[in-house]
């Protein structure tokens, strides 16, 4: 009888797995909130304000693509609906408003520069040092937290106007 009594509560020992919202999904959500908010603080040229607002994700990044697709069902960039594209290689025919380069995507920054040359694309990366090179925004980790570097000149190079309000949270890179 005593054994039965222990077993009754024993079923709860170390059962109850951690949340099915995986940490990868949560991390992707953090980036997605940032990326969505960038559309509010950055102004694209007139010819980019019609049609869909296209966000490209370069490289394998299923969690981020999934989260961006989820955001696209709920939000707009001004009056423009979002369109999310996941590329595994550089396709010159697509016009992107925003291009996120996954850290796993093996390519040189100069290749990416060629890819977006002449376009009004916000280049967002996630590798140390890239904001000093060509990226307008570079995600970094600081004190265990997701932060972002902002290089205003790299944004302006592609005719993008960045609101000074974005400076508050950004780590500014000259």
């Amino acid at each position: 009888m005593k054994q039965l009594i222990f077993v009754l509560f024993g079923a709860f020992f170390l059962s109850g797995k951690v949340d099915t919202t995986s940490p990868e999904s949560t991390s992707a959500k953090v980036k997605t909130v940032f990326l969505y908010n960038f559309t509010k603080y950055i102004d694209w040229p007139k010819n980019y304000k019609t049609g869909s607002f296209v966000i490209g994700v370069l490289g394998p990044n299923p969690y981020l693509v999934s989260e961006l697709n989820e955001m696209a069902t709920k939000k707009k960039a001004g009056s423009q609906s979002f369109e999310i594209k996941n590329l595994l290689s550089l396709d010159k025919n697509i016009k992107f408003h925003m291009l996120f380069v996954s850290p796993e995507f093996e390519t040189s920054i100069s290749d990416i520069e060629n890819f977006i040359k002449g376009k009004n694309t916000l280049l967002v990366t996630e590798k140390p040092g890239l904001a000093k090179q060509n990226a307008a925004i570079n995600f970094i980790v600081q004190n265990n937290r997701q932060k972002f570097e902002l290089n205003r000149k790299n944004a302006e190079k592609y005719n993008l106007k960045v609101s000074s309000s974005l400076n508050t949270l950004a780590i500014l890179i000259e």
């Binding site: 709860f12 959500k29 265990n144 997701q146």
Partner: protein, 297 residues
């Protein structure tokens, strides 16, 4: 008048002895009906005995009442975790033991209490495991402890208290996660239960893991529930809060891991925490260990 006094005294004595006899008859009738398994009818007579000044002082009255009520509970309220019949049976058994100075029926009363205790424990587990009815769970667990204390006065409930607090913490935690804003007080209740368990036994793997999980899930959920529209400064504060929750979760998850190194859930928890804290090296280490544990290595 002088001649009437003996007569009056005789009448008085006669009335008193008839009254006493009829109360004993009630008890005898109750016993007879009990033996015939006619418990509803038996209850009527034993209740009369229980309210009578004389027979209410007899331990047999209360033993019999406890037994009858137990049988009626089994027949009619077996699936009622708040059964009044069971509660009254318990009270009667306790009363019987209080009057008992070492009689032959003591062991019978203890057996009744042992049965009631097991039913209370079952109902406590049932309330928490299936419906998450924590009030009924708490009530039944407390009654189980009271009843079993009479069965075994030397019983140490510490480890069972640990298990119960963990299960109850889990119930509170589930309520919290359904709506973190509306049910915010359940986070504190859940935390309190796990902390109580850890006071009783700091090396309980389950309590450590569940407390870690509570903070971990809150850390994930506050991000999950954020609207995309949230202003960046406010969102940055949410991210800060999430990181702090992961940091609070970490030592408990590490302790759970130390106590049960091959447990897949704690390994998953650790890899998740380190991923969220952007510690790639430790994330990969525990991911690898988790894979090995899943393969039984």
């Amino acid at each position: 008048m002088k001649n009437l006094l003996p007569f009056l005294l005789t009448v008085m004595l006669f009335v008193m002895s008839v009254n006493s006899y009829s109360q004993s008859i009630n008890l005898m009738k109750a016993q007879e009906l009990t033996q015939a398994a006619k418990y509803d009818s038996a209850l009527v007579f034993v209740e009369l005995a229980a309210i009578n000044e004389e027979t209410s002082k007899e331990l047999f009255t209360w033993y019999l009442r406890g037994f009858i009520l137990k049988e009626l509970y089994k027949a009619k309220e077996n699936s009622d975790p708040r059964s009044k019949l069971r509660e009254e049976s318990f009270k009667s058994c306790v009363k019987s033991l209080e009057l008992d100075k070492g009689s032959e029926i003591r062991m019978n009363t203890i057996q009744t209490l042992k049965y009631l205790a097991s039913r209370y424990k079952n109902d406590a587990a049932g309330a928490l495991n299936s419906s998450g009815d924590y009030e009924t769970g708490i009530y039944n667990y407390e009654m189980y402890k009271k009843a079993f204390s009479y069965v075994d006065p030397s019983m140490n409930f510490n480890q069972q208290d640990v298990e119960f607090n963990v299960v109850l913490g889990d119930v509170y935690g589930s309520i919290f996660e359904k709506d973190m804003e509306k049910n915010k007080e359940f986070f504190e209740l859940s935390k309190k239960m796990y902390e109580k368990a850890l006071v009783l036994n700091p090396n309980d793997a389950s309590a450590n893991y569940h407390l870690a999980k509570l903070y971990y899930n809150k850390a994930l959920n506050i991000i999950k529930q954020t609207d995309y529209d949230m202003e960046l400064i406010a969102f940055d504060n949410i991210v800060d809060e999430s990181v702090e929750l992961f940091k609070i979760s970490l030592p408990y998850m590490e302790k759970a891991h130390e106590l049960d190194p091959k447990n897949v859930n704690t390994l998953e928890g650790l890899s998740g925490i380190y991923y969220s804290l952007q510690d790639k090296e430790k994330y990969e280490k525990f991911s690898e260990e988790r894979k090995k544990a899943e393969q039984g290595k």
